[in-house]
């Protein structure tokens, strides 16, 4: 239904305020009498707390209060389990959630131990140096495989094990398939995903107004409604006494939904206790250790194929590092387990997931949310199989794609939303064909690469395919209202952190009401404006909130036409809504503004069975998610002396169903690819054997800059989802998911004459140096 607004490359509504520095971010909130919090965080990965002495901090001028776990009384409670374990037979799951302030023991570096509140952040930080915590250091649990050995130290002693969960999912009969295979390939894979490093760190301002008996909280959260509900309950307030505002947020990428962070629980409590506004803004040093991140998995995987390259089955056993607590349940490893299957028709699958507690920061979804890990394993297995069988790498993928007539396609395992993993729709070959065309595959392989190799250059190509499960439930809602000013007001419960909601949501409404998108005001993330909702995650905004907005806008359109039909005495079918006016065939017209006034009269009653105003509230609750897909391809040049890799060309072909705004989709893809490139070659969280993070600043955690990101060419394929009216699928994570798989394939291709196999990501020059040396040593023997 690409229309006048929907599907058009419209410039962003939100940019004028953002680009001129007028937008409100949490740290911009300044209130009279506001006080500031700093946290003393654990320097140890694992230690018993013998005692805490805060007396010197309390004596420091300007310090208002110092709190340990003991001072919280009954308010001290472990956080909620956000996502319960999926209903899979034989599942093991141990729930251990984070606490507001450590009591008795610290379980990761950065865990908050003491909260200091003072007249300024400077004084609060000075006071941290005054506090003495007597720790008894314990051996740290760092490696996921060693963690499961019988004599390993325990993160949670009462459990008697570091195993947080084990889930086995099966489709078909892998062993029977294996018996029939011509080729079996087995390898150990290591995939480490990093931290989101959003430009804005977390932050919270809480203001308890005692006379109004009203709590206002500005929070960099992706899920304001859920935070509002939880805070009301914890603090003994009515939901109507709590307003949570998620203002403009400088990026989130997943970790800002890990409700409830200790700080989120403590700052509002403190504001009520002190009867003063309280601010805490996370600094970058805290962000590295206190905001959730993603990390590594180790996979022992095998693939069974016929000699024609048809996949008979895949078997995988993997270990997932979940950190010290598991408040987000199994979302990340389930995504790995499911997304591994990719766009391929795999009749038999056996996957054992082992989730392991370690003395590290908590793992929750970060853009891609475990999908990267699965895609990496599958794509590498296919690369190895192609080599072994002498089949072109694009051909082996093509032979195994789920054909377009097999949709909806049931993978027969359970996805992160607890529904069976069923793909709604897809058409995978055109995406591969387009990517091959854009990267000029045949010419590169047959002409360019041989020519450059003859010149002594090491150039290689990587091309991989993936799917992205998106747009899961439970639901979102939206209220659309035509005001008497003629402007249109839209409110929805999801938060916004840079996704262009103010534009793409406006386009959905404009398509129905035919008003300029600049006259449509979108409000997201303010619980006073919309009561219901879940949050922004899992690439679901455009699908779930988008379809709710679409439904509400359609309803308002009906009301507009109905009202105009009454005004003109003309049947609805003979009216046309165009340019902010309703027109009759005989040349009469009325503006939406005037209709809104007439729908809310000062005299005369609203008729029974009708409502005042041109307004509607609608909800959209999909039964299950929708599946986007795509192909990434790149060309790299490697300097095998310096171990440097330069990406010369990058192509993404993406199918997210109906595109609301191609500029926005491309922006999402560019950002995702940048994070994917970071995850391929630059970013790496390094922990030492004591559980200390050695990369806890931007000096050592290397975010790629504009200089490291090549131009990215984006091609679109549109296979609409049959499961929602707009036909949309999510696109938030697509750019980031398969990048490392493509990168590693390309590097291996560039270094073909060295005979190396790369079974891990991220790479680095140092790691490449080691891999090449190992290969040389092997050749020598």
């Amino acid at each position: 239904m690409a229309g006048r607004y929907f599907g058009q490359p419209i410039r962003r509504n939100e940019d004028p305020v953002l680009l001129t520095g007028q937008a409100l971010f949490t740290d911009d909130v300044q209130l009279p009498g506001m006080v500031h919090v700093a946290f003393l965080r654990s320097d140890y990965a694992h230690a018993r707390i013998r005692s805490i002495d805060v007396s010197r901090a309390l004596d420091r001028p300007g310090v208002i209060g110092v709190y340990t776990a003991e001072d919280l009384g009954d308010y001290w409670q472990p956080g909620p389990l956000l996502v319960p374990p999926p209903p899979v037979e034989g599942i093991i799951f141990h729930q251990r959630t984070q606490v507001p302030l450590a009591k008795g023991k610290v379980r990761h570096v950065g865990e908050p131990v003491v909260m200091v509140v003072a007249e300024s952040r400077y004084i609060a930080e000075d006071a941290l140096d005054d506090i003495f915590v007597d720790y008894e250091p314990l051996e740290a649990v760092v490696d996921v495989e060693k963690a499961l050995e019988p004599d390993a130290p325990l993160v949670h002693e009462d459990l008697g094990t570091n195993l947080a969960a084990r889930v086995v999912q099966r489709k078909g009969d892998y062993e029977a398939a294996r018996a029939k295979a011509d080729v079996i390939i087995q390898r150990r894979f290591y995939y480490d995903h990093g931290l989101a490093a959003a430009m804005e760190n977390r932050g919270i301002v809480a203001h308890w107004d005692k006379k109004m008996q009203y709590l206002t909280v500005w929070d960099t959260t992706q899920a304001p409604v859920v935070i509002r509900n939880g805070l009301a309950k914890m603090l003994g307030l009515s939901e109507s006494q709590v307003r949570v505002i998620a203002p403009f947020i400088g990026g989130a990428f997943g970790p800002k939904i890990m409700m409830f962070y200790p700080e989120e629980v403590l700052i509002p409590w403190l504001s009520m206790k002190l009867n003063r506004p309280v601010k805490w803004i996370e600094d970058r040093r805290e962000n590295f250790v206190a905001t959730t991140q993603e990390r590594y998995q180790v996979h022992y995987a095998e693939i069974a194929l016929t000699k024609e390259g048809r996949i008979l089955g895949v078997k995988d056993r993997f270990y997932h590092d979940t950190g010290a607590y598991d408040p987000y349940g199994l979302t990340v490893p389930i995504n790995s387990q499911c997304t591994l299957l990719g766009p391929y028709d795999i009749p038999n699958y056996h996957s054992e997931m082992n989730v392991v507690f370690t003395n590290k920061t908590i793992v929750t979804p970060y853009r891609g949310a475990g999908r990267q890990h699965g895609v990496f394993v599958m794509e590498r297995l296919l690369d190895l199989a192609a080599k072994e069988l002498g089949i072109d790498r694009t051909e082996i993928r093509r032979r195994n794609f789920i054909p377009p007539d097999k949709f909806p396609y049931n993978n027969e395992i359970i996805y992160q939303d607890f529904a069976p993993l069923v793909y709604d729709s897809g058409n995978y070959e055109p995406a591969l064909d387009l990517a091959m065309k854009l990267i000029d595959y045949e010419k590169f392989i047959k002409e360019e690469q041989p020519r450059l190799r003859a010149e002594g250059k090491h150039v290689g190509l990587g091309i991989v395919a993936y799917v992205e499960g998106t747009g899961i439930g439970p639901y979102e809602g939206a209220r659309v209202q035509v005001e008497s000013t003629g402007k249109v007001n839209v409110a929805t419960g999801v938060g916004t952190q840079g996704q262009s909601h103010f534009t793409s949501f406006a386009q959905i409404v404009a398509e129905q009401l035919d008003v300029d998108v600049r006259n449509i005001r979108i409000v997201t993330g303010d619980t006073a404006e919309f009561h219901w909702g879940t949050g922004t995650f899992a690439s679901r905004g455009a699908v779930v909130a988008g379809n709710a907005i679409h439904a509400a806008a359609k309803k308002v359109r009906e009301k507009v036409l109905q009202k105009a039909s009454e005004e003109f005495g003309v049947p609805v079918e003979e009216l046309e809504l165009r340019g902010g006016y309703v027109h009759t065939k005989d040349g009469r017209s009325i503006s939406l503004a005037d209709l809104a006034v007439k729908a809310n009269p000062l005299r005369g009653a609203v008729k029974p069975g009708t409502e005042p105003g041109l307004e509607a509230t609608m909800y959209f609750g999909p039964e299950r998610g929708v599946t986007a897909n795509g192909v990434h391809a790149m060309i790299v040049e490697v300097d095998p002396e310096l171990m440097d890799v330069k990406i010369k060309k990058y192509v993404v072909v993406h199918d997210c169903g109906k595109v609301i705004n191609p500029l926005v989709v491309e922006g999402q893809i560019h950002g995702g690819v940048a994070q994917g490139i970071g995850n391929s070659f630059y970013e790496e969280i390094v922990y030492n054997e004591d559980g200390q993070m050695l990369t806890a600043s931007f000096m050592d955690y290397l975010i790629p800059t504009a200089m490291e990101i090549p131009p990215i060419e984006v091609g679109h394929v549109e296979t609409p989802s049959p499961w929602n009216e707009l036909g949309t699928k999510g696109t938030g994570e697509a750019g980031a998911i398969p990048t490392a798989a493509a990168f590693v394939q390309a590097v291996e291709d560039a270094l073909a004459d060295y005979g190396i196999e790369i079974l891990e990501a991220p790479l680095s020059p140092n790691r490449l140096f080691e891999i090449l040396k190992e290969a040389q040593a092997k050749k020598g023997t």
Partner: protein, 291 residues
């Protein structure tokens, strides 16, 4: 990431600044471009009680021709001024070629020559270039004034010959002799990062094409700029063939440096990089000397 409280002075002349340093000595730190000092204060790794801000001491920002054909560069000269100076491009092409490798434009707008050498990061470019040029550093205090050879100025990790009450006021960089070729190269993780390893070379050939003199200085592979004397000894008096250059580079990377390992590069990898880069800069320097 907030620094503890400190006293702040903003003198407008060298005399005033020296008086403040004499008064506060060990407790004071000079603030130049702040690109290294402010982060360390925010991390509370440095906690000076007093800051003496040189940003209003305009007499310290200059690039002047020296009689020997080289240049005098004032301590408060910003990296960007050196980078864009015609005088530098004409007289000190090695320095000119190296400047864009330092950090990013925003940082080059603030960071200063004096700050960089006083900070003495072993992976920084300007200490290595100053040593390559056999530069001299002018130090002053209320007690007097002295010139120190670059070789003696850098004494260890982030450590220089500066006394607590002294400051760098200017740097003298002599020109490279005639028939000298030069080159600089480095390898960093990202564009603008401190390099894992960097190498500067200058090779002077005699009329017959044999090496009369050579300089090879490594950064990022020791506690200060490291001189490749083994390579220089191998090259001197010889016509530099590709094989000889390779041997010299490899030997220097084995014997003249003392690399450490960190999360970005093991000591072995740094040694490897040092050999590769030394070979590349020596080759380029010889090519240029032959032109």
């Amino acid at each position: 990431m907030k620094p503890p409280a400190f006293k702040y002075y903003a003198p407008s002349s060298v005399e005033e600044a020296l008086a403040l340093l004499a008064e506060h000595g060990y407790d004071a730190k000079i603030l130049a471009g702040g690109q290294s000092l402010i982060p360390t204060m925010n991390f509370r790794l440095a906690q000076p009680g007093v800051l003496v801000d040189l940003n209003r001491v305009s007499e310290l920002a200059f690039i002047r021709p020296a009689d020997d054909g080289g240049l005098l560069i004032g301590a408060m000269t910003r990296h960007v001024q050196v980078e864009t100076s015609d005088l530098v491009a004409q007289r000190l092409p090695l320095l000119h070629e190296t400047m864009p490798f330092i950090a990013h434009p925003q940082i080059r707008n603030r960071g200063t020559y004096g700050g960089s050498i006083s900070h003495a990061d072993p992976a920084a470019e300007l200490p290595a270039i100053t040593v390559t040029h056999r530069g001299k550093i002018h130090l002053r205090s209320t007690r007097g004034s002295r010139w120190v050879d670059a070789d003696d100025f850098f004494v260890g990790l982030f450590t220089t010959a500066l006394e607590p009450d002294e400051m760098v006021v200017e740097i003298a960089l002599p020109p490279l002799p005639p028939r000298t070729g030069w080159a600089f190269d480095e390898f960093s993780r990202r564009h603008g990062d401190f390099a894992l390893v960097g190498v500067a070379a200058a090779v002077t050939l005699d009329p017959a094409g044999a090496v009369e003199d050579a300089r090879l200085v490594f950064m990022g592979v020791g506690d200060r700029p490291m001189k490749g004397d083994t390579a220089v000894a191998l090259l001197r008096g010889q016509v530099p063939s590709a094989d000889l250059i390779e041997e010299a580079a490899t030997r220097a990377a084995q014997e003249d440096i003392d690399p450490f390992g960190d999360v970005h590069a093991s000591a072995a990898f740094r040694r490897h990089l040092a050999a590769v880069l030394a070979k590349r800069v020596l080759t380029r320097a010889v090519e240029r000397a032959n032109r």
